[in-house]
Symmetry: C2
Subunit: 80 residues, 2 copies
Amino acid sequence: MRAKVHVALKKSVLDPQGKTILQALHRLGYEEVKDVRLGKEFYIEIDESDPGKARERLEEMARKLLANTVIEDFVVEVEE
Amino acid sequence: MRAKVHVALKKSVLDPQGKTILQALHRLGYEEVKDVRLGKEFYIEIDESDPGKARERLEEMARKLLANTVIEDFVVEVEE
């Protein structure tokens, strides 16, 4: 079973990388871009046939390893 | 209009970061995880009301700045 875990800084946390990319896009002439925030995406192949169980395990992995929940939010997406 | 640009290493390119995370998950007891690959996700706010035009501009930005198309693939997702 394939799954994705999306991890991004909480909305309340400044994202200097995103800000730098925004400025670079403006310099290239993409003035219509108003905001950029950067996240990570983990593409995971998991040997578990029950989608509910897979989600539960992936949420545990996200809390323990993939995300820093002090400053980041995560979303688990199981491809059924 | 909100959009996402997903950028990930091409399947043919080794992903040592993903491999390291896979090993860490195994050490934590998540033996059911068979593969991990890591990607980036850009959350973009763009001042353009035509979804087709927004997509076109975002694909250009991805080719020019957001992705290294020698080793990375990208997918543009416009939220309509």
